[in-house]
């Protein structure tokens, strides 16, 4: 319970910072809009059947791009102010740091989804089932974003703490998140087609979320600071 409370406090602190300058919300929101316009220009001439195939890819590719941008920025702030070290020596659980950062990233991604999904509805008539089944769409969007965030936060934090180059984040992130994004793409297509396998895909996505979240929480401390001999050696 303490970890969850600490995570919420850390996330609230980041959100408060974000509310002051709106840097992440505005840049990620604008980026979502630009990606949407670019995809719209590329695929607006497609017929309805082809749109059903294109829309899932557009949605989750946009999430992949925006997620990488958000994750880089979230830890850049800590790096620029040199507060990551302060955060690590503060009396908070390491898991709470992970959960706090993951929560902020998730909220930003969901905010971007609030631009992307209505944008797709506006640009592509085949996206209409997203509006007629808002509950199913919300579940899909949340589960897909959790899968991306859970892995992304672990590696973005590790890269920030090791002073690594941000270009490596994309190298790591895309192969690792593609299985989840792939299931999300298939589930989105099932939603648009009204396929009965849609709930089964949601369950698969939830299972991926659970595995990546547990693994990321378990590895977070080791990746960030090292444990035992590995921490002493460095």
């Amino acid at each position: 319970m303490t970890s969850l409370r600490q995570a919420w406090l850390l996330a609230r602190n980041d959100l408060r910072q974000e509310l002051r300058d709106l840097e992440l919300v505005l840049t990620a929101g604008f980026f979502s809009l630009v990606v949407l316009v670019m995809f719209g220009l590329s695929f607006s001439a497609l017929g309805r059947e082809a749109q059903v195939l294109a829309i899932p890819g557009v949605l989750w590719l946009a999430v992949a791009f925006i997620g990488a941008l958000t994750l880089t920025r979230i830890f850049d702030r800590e790096r620029e102010a040199d507060t990551l070290r302060a955060l690590l020596v503060a009396p908070v659980e390491r898991q709470a740091i992970y959960l706090g950062k993951a929560l902020v990233t998730l909220m930003v991604l969901l905010g971007c989804m609030a631009v992307l999904v209505p944008g797709l509805l506006l640009l592509f008539p085949a996206a209409a089932p997203m509006a007629t089944r808002p509950g199913a769409t919300a579940c899909l969007v949340v589960l897909g974003c959790i899968a991306y965030t859970s892995v992304g936060t672990l590696f973005a934090a590790g890269l920030a703490s090791s002073g690594g180059k941000n270009v490596l984040l994309s190298v790591i992130l895309y192969p690792l998140t593609t299985p989840a994004l792939l299931v999300a793409v298939v589930a989105t297509r099932a939603l648009l087609e009204g396929h009965p396998a849609f709930p089964a895909y949601l369950k698969q996505l939830a299972a991926i979320d659970a595995v990546t979240m547990v693994l990321s929480i378990w590895l977070f401390e080791s990746v960030l600071v090292g444990t035992g001999a590995s921490a002493r050696r460095r």
Binding site: V151, L154, F155, G158, L159, S161, S162, G163, G164, K165, L168, V171, I172, Y174, P175, L176, T178, P179, L182, Q204, V211, L215, L219, S222, V223, L224, G226, T227, G228, A229, S230, A231, R232, R233, R234
Partner: protein, 224 residues
């Protein structure tokens, strides 16, 4: 003896491999439905097994590296990841050749193909992080290797979870005895070659680490 182990394995593989090629092409019956294209199975399947086995080795070694800070485990994870990359190339080349002959398409976006391709990308990313990451990114790479190892059961069960055109896992178990008799030598030859390469790379990495530490000690003594 331990120093000579890679040489012993390489020599053994050099003798077994020509024997297994001769066995596969001259003494194993041609499969009724797929014809001679099925011969690639004797290389594809052992390579896939080795790719998955070495991914698990890399994942376990990376876990030990993270928990205990063991340099030997770190070197083992790196060497095993390189073998995953090599055997992965073998799997991803032989698979589409077989697919082209039997399905008519080299790449069908089958779940087993996709998960194997992603698996290869994860280990390629691992080696990129090891090569170009800043100090401390070895821990990051280790986490990547663990995620790669977790991907192994997903590859294995991909044909059960999703609808695929790839043959099921039970195909290997249902092989007639004469086909098994050809599969074993291929597996042994490729396994010996992979283990020999792993041992060579492991020794190189440990020497590299020892040289680094000697250099640091020398500098510290110079400063003192």
């Amino acid at each position: 003896m331990a120093r000579r182990l890679p040489t012993v394995f390489l020599v053994a593989a050099a003798f077994i491999f020509p024997y297994c090629v001769q066995r596969i092409f001259l003494h194993t019956p041609i499969e009724r439905e797929m014809g001679t294209a099925q011969k690639i199975f004797y290389f594809h399947v052992p390579l896939a097994w080795l790719m998955m086995a070495f991914a698990i080795v890399a994942g376990i070694a990376a876990g030990i590296q993270l928990r205990r800070g063991s340099l030997r485990a770190e070197a083992t994870a790196l060497a095993a990841a390189e073998i995953v990359l090599l055997t992965g190339i073998g799997v991803l080349v032989t698979g589409p050749i077989w697919g082209h002959a039997t399905w008519g398409h080299a790449w069908t976006w089958d779940a087993r193909q996709v998960t194997t391709g992603l698996h290869w990308l994860i280990f390629a990313a691992y080696l990129l992080v090891r090569r170009y990451g800043a100090a401390g990114s070895d821990r990051l790479a280790a986490a990547l290797a663990i995620f790669g190892a977790v991907n192994v059961p997903i590859i294995y069960y991909a044909v059960k979870i999703w609808k695929t055109t790839h043959p099921s896992n039970e195909v290997v178990g249902s092989l007639p005895a004469e086909m098994w008799a050809s599969l074993w030598p291929a597996l042994i030859a490729l396994a010996l070659l992979s283990i020999a390469l792993l041992l060579v790379r492991l020794r190189q990495e440990l020497t590299d680490i020892a040289l680094d530490e000697a250099w640091i000690r020398l500098n510290e003594r110079g400063e003192a």
